[in-house]
Amino acid sequence: MNKREMISSEETEYELFFGPAHPGSGNFSVRLKVDGERVVSGRADPGYLHRGFEKLMEYRLPIQNAVLSDRICVFEALNWNLLHAEAVEELLGIEVPRRAQYIRVMMAELSRIQSHIVWYGVFSIALGFETGFKIAFAYRDYVLDLFEMITGGRVYPAGYICPGGVRRDLPEGAEERILAALEKVDEMLAWEETGAPFFPERTKGVGVLSLEDAIRLGATGPVLRASGMKADVRKDDPYEVYDEFDFDVPVLTDGDAYSRYRIGLAEIAESVKIVRQAVANLPEGDFIHPSLAKPGVKVQLPEGEVYVRNEVARGEGAMHLVGNGGTNPYRVKIRGPSLLHMIPVLEHLLVGASVADVPAIYWSLNICPADMDR
């Protein structure tokens, strides 16, 4: 429709693309049908970041898949490492040494802290608050320094949490540096408390997701907890050594973008508590199961299937692994939290929203295109 036709026609609806080249959308696009300032409907348009992990994993050894599992979601690589390692261990029937379990919990929680800091950063910039973005990414680097020291890479740990345990022991003086980095995370949370009075103004009452809708549409993790349901795999179905730690699951009942943002920050504080306890109680011993100490080329995955679920930063992640007696898995199915947040939940929330609120709704869901397309 050209301009002249548009003016003369009675039709006032038009289509607006949010992404995939929008600075605030990531590799993901939403087609909005807009009537003036109101969104009539939104259609999520995924698929810009599909890399085919489920198929790739069928052609690789478990230890190679551990490296590959980093890439499922860039910002929470260690959480996905842990999920993959747990699936392989359950299939092999291996008991992981206690020290390795503590290191795993510590790393998974640091990864969650770092992921939520990124969430705060991108949420800030989506609302036009650049200072928040810069604060978040500056303080995230303190956690990345820890990853660099412990795993050897800043963003990609390269399967640090591998089947059987972890690939390396903590280096000399790691505990002190972890505690120092946690101080910095507390500092960042204090920064957030002081600033940004416009955060509630822009996000309160925006994108309200009722508890019934959240359950019906399959929301998990922070999104579900912001709508008033206390559901966390770490508490409900404890894995590793989570049942030995004292932490709370923050829950809010409003279900709007502001609640989701508050939940994110409250979870950072809870994760800091967990890491502090893990550092204080870190046991001595092996860091990897002796049978898998060298990366095995000939580890046989027995016949059978397992389904393992974990609380990754964005919600509930799960992996269904089928073995058929060979060295490679027969089938891997990955359940990422972002898919359901990005398609049904986002499309539901966009109906009737104002165009200016679209970024606030979009980023309040803490979504990751990489995790969704896989």
């Binding site: 690789r60 050894l61 230890i63 190679q64 490296v67 590959l68 500056a138 680097d141 320094d145 660099e148 020291m149 050897g152 890479g153 990609y156 390269a158 399967g159 690939r167 390396r168 280096p171 920064w191 408390e193 002081t194 600033g195 009075p197 060298k294 990366p295 080329v297």
Partner: protein, 125 residues
């Protein structure tokens, strides 16, 4: 929040920046970093485990250049850094420690062929 924010702003004005000015100073890279490979041909036993564990098939076993074949008669790993994901599985699996990952991170190049590291870099094959 007003007064507290003001206090923070004043403190922030006199605080050190969080970044460093890169070419003249840089943050130290810790030990155990996964950077470019170092290959020690004298230790290598040509078992080929590194090539078989490499997730991206970046390692290929090749012969030594003709003038060194008498000294090194077997096949040695040639590493294609364009395919490498720096996972360090080759370092972990090597039974004799012939392949190690160094702290060298300055690997960007305009020459694609230059990113392929032959086992004997002083003489090309």
């Amino acid at each position: 929040m007003g007064i507290e924010l003001l206090g923070r702003l004043v403190r922030n004005m006199v605080a050190r920046p969080l970044t460093v000015s890169f070419p003249t100073e840089s943050i130290p890279i810790p030990d155990g970093y996964r950077g470019e490979h170092r290959f020690d041909a004298d230790k290598c036993i040509s078992c080929g485990l590194c090539a078989s564990i490499c997730p991206n098939k970046a390692i290929e076993l090749v012969e030594a250049p003709p003038d060194r074949r008498e000294e090194y008669p077997k096949r040695y790993p040639r590493i294609d850094l364009r395919k490498c994901c720096f996972c360090a599985l080759c370092q972990d699996i090597c039974p004799v420690g012939a392949l190690t990952l160094t702290k060298n991170v300055f690997l960007s190049t305009f020459d694609p062929a230059g990113a392929v590291r032959p086992p004997f870099p002083d003489r090309s094959e």
